[in-house]
């Protein structure tokens, strides 16, 4: 095994549906007790990867290890996993209790043990009053709790979630998100969680794996993913609204873009490029400084406001910079009008610079 305390290891995994390669030579080690989020746009293979881990899909090549055992050929029920689905997938003709105990009865767990586990799960998830009801008589949030309970009673090491919150309304989603985080803190199980919601990923994850076209683009903590994206795809994908990118050249300690020379004094290069290297710089809207903060900005320039979008807690300003649409975020209390000229500051040290050809971080 590559990692000492790996709970789940995915080794050189390939999966194709006929000629379509959905997963390609994928390697991933998930530490015991970690909350790992698989994040990516629709169709990038997140669900497929989760299904392979669960044993619901057969890989074309490669191995799955769970708790130090090669489970590549094992049945889903033998892998020590519990799974929660987007559509809840509760058995409609069974009561909540029947749903929770179905797996245990299949595994011929003794009766009193079943009772104990159901009681515990029901208490943790606060679904005791619902035990005798059928799923049809539950709200969406309650159904998802029962679905989580079904994974919980199995007493497994690894929980798999496939977009468990995306069928819920915004408020309930936020509530259940917090509950999930608390649940993870209590149980300290390994959890693998698929989503295409950035906020869920950033708030829940110990580490995030950003996927694209069946490959992992970057694996890191939410702070790393946000602060030092390894490539342009990740940089563009994370953050809302997303970064604005400018093409230019890096020349020693200066990034030259149309009409502006940004000083790169404090920028931490991963690998320092030679003079005149074509590069792309990405600037996050929330890293643009205005007002009192301007003093600490290494670079300042003036812009004309095109459009103001107040969002309550903050305000988005649309303008043009270096001949290209540019947007940045200001405090919600700032009073700015269309057509006004204001000074903004940019700190290239907080920006991200990518090689123009490889789109890898410089």
């Amino acid at each position: 095994m590559t990692v000492e305390n790996a709970s789940v290891s995915i080794k050189n995994l390939d999966l194709s549906f006929g000629a379509v390669k959905v997963l390609q030579n994928l390697n991933l080690d998930i530490v015991d007790g970690e909350f790992l989020v698989l994040l990516g746009s629709s169709g990038c293979g997140k669900s497929t990867l989760l299904n392979v881990i669960a044993g619901l899909l057969e890989p074309t090549d490669g191995q799955i290890w769970i708790k130090g055992k090669n489970v590549t050929w094992a049945e889903p029920s033998e892998r020590g996993i519990g799974m929660v689905f987007q559509s809840y997938a509760l058995y409609p003709q069974m009561t909540v209790e029947g749903n929770l105990t179905f797996g245990l009865r299949n595994a011929r767990v003794p009766k009193d043990e079943i009772k104990r586990r159901v009681a515990r799960a029901a208490e943790i998830l606060q679904i005791e009053p619902l035990l005798k009801r059928k799923p049809g008589a539950l709200s969406g949030g309650q159904r998802q709790r029962v679905a989580i309970g079904r994974a919980l009673v199995r007493d497994v090491d690894v929980f798999l979630f496939d977009e468990p919150l995306s069928n819920l309304d915004a408020k309930l989603r936020a509530d259940l998100r917090v509950e999930l985080k608390l649940l993870h803190n209590n149980l300290e199980n390994t959890m693998i969680y698929v989503t295409h919601d950035q906020v869920e990923a950033m708030t829940l994850a110990d580490r995030i794996a950003i996927m694209k076209g069946g490959k992992i683009m970057q694996l890191g903590t939410p702070a790393e993913i946000y602060g030092t994206p390894q490539n342009k795809y990740v940089a563009d994908f994370i953050g809302s609204p997303s970064m604005t990118f400018y093409d230019g050249t890096v020349d020693g300690t200066v990034m030259k873009i149309e009409g502006h020379d940004l000083p790169l004094g404090a920028y931490q290069f991963t690998n320092r490029p030679g003079p005149g290297t074509p590069a792309t710089i990405g600037i996050r809207p929330e890293h643009v400084m205005t007002g009192d903060n301007l003093r600490s900005a290494p670079y300042q320039t003036d812009i004309t406001v095109d459009l103001v979008e107040p969002m309550g807690s903050d305000t988005l300003i649309y303008c043009h910079l270096a001949g290209q649409p540019f947007r940045f975020r200001m405090d919600g209390s700032a009073v700015v009008r269309k057509g006004e000229r204001i000074t903004i500051g940019i700190d290239p040290a907080r920006a991200s610079i990518f090689d123009k050809d490889t789109e890898e971080r410089l």
């Binding site: 669960a54 889903p76 029920s77 519990g82 689905f85 058995y91 299949n106």
Partner: protein, 314 residues
């Protein structure tokens, strides 16, 4: 103007004058005798009559004595109700050599129906389940072949099956006929079940697998309890199909002793000896049609629901 507003708000519902002041509110009143209604209900009435009239004539005739029938008014209700034709049709009517009525054919048909029904529904449901949930290599090809089977006209296969049954030593027996019914019911019922199971979310199936349920456990404990409506549909299709079958019965049964009810009915009605006993013929026909009729009445609602559920997804 303000006064009118207040008046309208307080009293609008009760008084026509206030209603006029207030303008339209609530459900729009409908004209029961609108042209559209007259056309729709008129058509329905005529169609209903068209279907009900022959049934009426049959029932009425079957309750009359022969002298009354000879008078000739087929729509007149019986002056003297008699159940004699029914008793005769059931117990005494002659078909060729046997003179023990339709009862023999009825029991033959039951003996054909029950095993055919159980076998075909059981096999088709398992087929449909396997084809939609446990896709294996070539399952689509298998399904396509089965569907092609559904479109081959029966007539083409009549004689080859005679040979097959003869080689198997089953020609002329009820067992042979049961096998034929099971085989011919297979494509349509498999399609029915496959489409129904395909409409069940895949995640349910995945959840059951994670819960450690295998092929049979998922079928019996998850899928079956969810599929009552489609079973009702399949049962109705099979019962009516098998009970009403004439062609296979007359082709694959070699002895009048074992003819199903429909074939026997035909022999009674078409028998050329003696006088035509219209009342007995009518009673015999009604008796033969009773089984599908009872099934329809007993399960009409479930039938409609099942058809709708099965038709949603392909």
């Amino acid at each position: 103007m303000a006064d009118i507003g207040i008046l309208a708000a307080t009293k609008s519902a009760e008084h026509p004058v206030y209603r006029m002041i207030d303008g339209p509110r609530g459900a729009k009143p409908k004209n029961r005798f609108s042209r559209a209604n007259i056309i729709v209900y008129g058509t329905l009435f005529v169609v209903a009559l068209y279907y009900a009239l022959p049934l009426y004539v049959m029932i009425v005739t079957s309750l009359k004595g022969l002298p009354e029938i000879r008078v000739g008014n087929i729509f007149a209700p019986p002056l003297e109700v008699t159940f004699q034709p029914w008793v005769k049709a059931w117990q005494e009517a002659c078909t060729g050599i046997n003179c023990d009525g339709l009862s023999r054919g009825f029991w033959n048909s039951v003996r054909i129906l029950i095993p055919s029904l159980i076998l075909s529904v059981a096999i088709a449901s398992i087929n449909g389940y396997a084809l939609s949930m446990w896709k294996f290599r070539g399952s689509e090809v298998f399904f396509t072949i089965l569907m092609i089977g559904a479109f081959i006209p029966y007539q083409v296969m009549l004689y080859p099956i005679v040979i097959l049954l003869r080689e198997a030593g089953l020609y002329g027996s009820l067992t042979g006929l049961v096998l034929v019914h099971v085989a011919f019911g297979m494509p349509i019922n498999t399609l029915l079940f496959r489409n129904y199971f395909a409409s069940i979310p895949e995640e349910l199936f995945k959840a059951a697998r994670v819960d450690g349920a295998g092929f049979w456990a998922i079928f019996f404990r998850i899928m079956l309890p969810m599929s009552l409506p489609i079973f009702v549909v399949a049962v109705i299709i099979q019962v009516t199909g098998i009970w009403n079958d004439f062609l296979f019965g007359v082709t694959y049964i070699s002895s009048p002793d074992r003819y199903p009810m429909t074939v026997q009915l035909n022999n009674i009605v078409n028998s050329v000896q003696g006088v035509k006993e219209y009342n007995v013929n009518m009673a015999a026909t009604l008796l033969t049609g009773l089984v599908p009729l009872v099934i329809y009445f007993a399960s009409g609602k479930l039938f409609v629901r099942g058809i709708a559920a099965g038709a949603v997804k392909g």
